[in-house]
């Protein structure tokens, strides 16, 4: 318990102290990271803890955003509601819509449940651009943050601390929930819903409450985004938003509490850092997601958790070499892929098509990673191939020893294997 607190304390200290010294771009990025983390953790209450995969969580995020904006507009008109308490509007809206949506969605399970949530989100997405009154039609709603209690809320850093406070509070509440009887019930529900029923629990009511709480905190996240951007429109209900939170959660790991936050941080940071460097950053995101799904089904967080859990039993000295091999191999494969993708991006771009036309139909040189290449020479094609093959070979070599060492750990942790 205490061991887990140290990294948390470090992160907390950083988030508390560092931001005033960072530039505006980073402050904004941190705000987005915090909001994304909360959204992912709220989502995971339903998906990871209760085992109900929702593909339309954007609905509750969006509803929270619009509720906050409506309240902001009232405050602008003179309502004496404290600005720092704005996310309560998001919470209320998320809770209410979550109760209604959850009541219907949880009547179904598995794929059908996912489809219901998808349909609900699409309902909002298609309706909002035409509903001027509530959603501001196609343009959406805008409103300014009003001063309160001596704070102007004009600068980004104030918005940052407001966001931090609410996200920290929400995460604390969500974590506390996992320690309550209801939180344990959610986990049981994921494992064996039928048994839960036969123990005297009304499974449907339980699921509705979980859904509503998840929607409530999603609404808080949405409200925080609306407060930060001072605007929202129907695009918040798009399937892309629902998709992003699913991505964050499962890459980070749905089975441990902070997993989704890890995923959210990774992807939001990735987007912030990489989106300026390359236009293909979404492709990389998709590739990372698929790779994690294939090779680390419990997510990166799950992977870390597994290592922590078995750290006493793992043969670390023996693992060092194959792990280093695998890491190096993966890096080589990754660089090969990045090189190839960036090359293709340049070669297929409009600029290059223009350059080709100017060169009379030939294949002029292009620049990737600061160096010049010609598409006609085999070098830009053989290089990634060589890197890829070398990397793959290293990874495959390392697979067997790693597998064997983990086998030993698993066999060791299971008590007397049942003969039947």
């Amino acid at each position: 318990m205490a061991r887990a607190l140290l990294p948390l304390a470090l992160v907390g200290a950083f988030l508390l102290v560092a931001p005033p010294f960072l530039d505006l771009g980073w402050q904004n990025a941190l705000i987005n990271i915090l909001i994304a983390s909360l959204f992912a953790l709220a989502f995971n209450l339903l998906a990871g803890q209760a085992g109900l995969l929702s593909f339309g969580h954007a609905a509750y995020f969006g509803v929270g955003a619009f509720a906050a904006l409506h309240l902001m507009a009232r405050i602008e008109d003179g309502l004496g509601f404290p600005t720092p308490l704005l996310p309560l509007a998001g919470a209320a809206a998320g809770l209410l819509i979550g109760l209604v949506a959850g009541f219907f969605a949880t009547m179904r399970s598995g794929v059908y449940f996912a489809l219901v949530t998808l349909a609900i989100a699409e309902l909002f997405h298609s309706l909002a651009p035409h509903w001027q009154g509530v959603f501001g039609g196609e343009a959406g709603l805008s409103s300014m943050r009003m001063p309160w209690g001596g704070l102007i809320f004009g600068s980004l850093i104030e918005v940052y601390y407001l966001t931090l406070a609410w996200v920290a509070l929400s995460i604390l509440l969500l974590w506390g929930l996992t320690r309550t009887p209801f939180g344990r019930l959610a986990l049981a529900l994921r494992d064996n819903e039928q048994r839960v029923r036969f123990l005297g629990y009304n499974a449907h009511v339980t699921k509705v409450i979980i859904f509503a709480i998840s929607a409530m905190f999603s609404g808080v996240a949405g409200a925080l985004q609306a407060i930060s951007n001072e605007t929202a429109n129907y695009v918040l209900f798009a399937s892309g938003v629902s998709a992003q939170v699913v991505l964050y959660t499962f890459v980070g790991g749905a089975t441990i509490f902070f997993g989704p936050a890890v995923g959210a941080v990774i992807f939001t940071l990735f987007a912030y850092l990489v989106s300026d460097l390359t236009r293909s950053w979404l492709l990389y995101q998709g590739l990372i997601f698929v790779l994690v799904m294939l090779y680390a089904p419990n997510g990166l967080g799950g992977l870390i958790h597994q290592h922590l859990r078995h750290r006493g039993q793992l043969d670390w000295p023996r693992l060092a070499r194959p792990y280093a091999q695998a890491t190096l191999g993966s890096l080589l494969v990754a660089s090969a892929a990045i090189f190839l993708i960036e090359t293709l991006a340049v070669v297929f771009s409009r600029d290059y098509a223009v350059a080709r036309r100017d060169a009379g139909g030939g294949f002029p040189t292009y620049e990737v990673f600061g160096l010049d290449w010609t598409p006609l020479s085999p070098v830009p094609w053989l290089l990634p191939l060589a890197l890829f093959t070398a990397g793959l070979w290293l990874v495959l070599q390392a697979r067997h020893p790693i597998g064997a060492l983990w086998q030993r750990v698993r066999a060791g942790s299971e008590p007397g294997v049942n003969p039947s």
């Binding site: 598995g110 349909a119 699409e122 035409h130 009154g133 998709g286 294939l294």
Partner: protein, 313 residues
């Protein structure tokens, strides 16, 4: 009357197009229990491949190559990706197809750019089939309908009359039993997935020459296709056809109907009251034509999840 006729024609043809895409999806779900989020991506891939090939080898070659290419991609996806994740459960399969959809969309943008490409139909098909109330009705629309119908008939015959079809249907009902009888079920699964993808690819190749071929194709069609398979009944080919036509016709008609709930209430004298409420009451059907299919999908999921023709439970 003109509106009625044109809308019906357009609606039926759009419905048949929807059917071409959803047929594969519903078959795959019925057989493997996998809801392929990347199915509409196969549709988009088909359009783009057809475009790429047709630029150098002509429209008809493009039309032939696209489904084959997409079918092979589908088989590879099933064999090397889906099968791996199958052991982790249905949720992971869903998520994988989800990630694939993302990758395909971005890969397409990488190679072909963010803007629509100029995928054109063959000049030989560029004529008017007939004239309706003074407007020429393009033959290509009819062509799309013909391809869809031929496809449905071929599929139906294949599934009900041939040995392959019997094996496929057996594998759908009781995969382990079919395997015990000596049929190579994994191969069947791979083939069905590939075939479903190929069908979607064909639909894309055909439709892409008429409708704009752009990177948003998959997203635009993707959600409607889900509505179709749910309403028709997951796993039912006939249900898919019925639901496609239903939704195709509805979409076609709805865009031209300017009634709102307030207009309907005006018939019983409550028009002004409804109008004073604003909001939902004054929204015209043409504006919310995109919303109603989702409302229908919700209704079906909640009241009768088996859809129009799917099997219960």
């Amino acid at each position: 009357m003109e509106f009625f006729l044109i809308s019906t024609l357009n609606g039926v043809i759009f419905g048949l197009l929807l059917f071409m895409v959803s047929a594969g999806l519903t078959l795959i779900f019925g057989m493997m229990g996998v809801l392929n989020f990347a199915h509409a991506s196969f549709y988009m891939l088909g359009a783009y491949v057809a475009y790429a090939v047709s630029s150098t080898a002509g429209f008809w070659v493009g039309l032939l190559v696209a489904p084959v290419f997409v079918g092979i991609v589908g088989m590879l996806v099933e064999r090397f990706l889906l099968r791996r994740v199958h052991a982790f459960g249905h949720a992971h399969e869903l998520l994988l197809t989800f990630g694939l959809a993302l990758i395909v969309e971005e890969a397409v943008k990488l190679v072909f750019g963010d803007f629509p490409v100029n995928y054109q139909m063959a000049d030989t098909l560029r004529f008017a089939a007939f004239t309706v109330y003074g407007t020429d009705y393009p033959f290509y629309r009819v062509f799309m309908g013909i391809v869809a119908i031929v496809m449905f008939v071929a599929l139906w015959l294949l599934l009900s009359r041939t040995r392959i079809g019997i094996v496929v249907r057996a594998a759908e009902r009781l995969p382990q039993m079919a395997e015990a009888l000596g049929h190579n079920i994994p191969v069947v699964f791979t083939s069905v997935f590939g075939a479903g993808a190929a069908l979607a690819g064909l639909a894309g190749a055909v439709a892409g020459a008429f409708y704009p071929t752009n990177p948003n194709m998959a997203l635009e069609l993707g959600v409607i296709v889900f509505v179709v398979v749910v309403v028709g009944g997951l796993g039912s080919l006939q249900g898919s056809l019925l639901a496609s036509l239903l939704i195709g016709l509805f979409s076609s008609f709805a865009v031209g109907i300017d009634w709102s709930a307030a207009d309907l209430l005006a018939l019983v004298g409550l028009g002004d009251w409804a109008r004073s409420l604003g909001g939902l009451m004054i929204m015209q059907i043409s504006s919310i034509s995109a919303t109603i299919p989702f409302a229908l999908m919700l209704l079906v999921l909640l009241v009768r999840p088996a859809g129009l023709m799917g099997e219960r439970g």
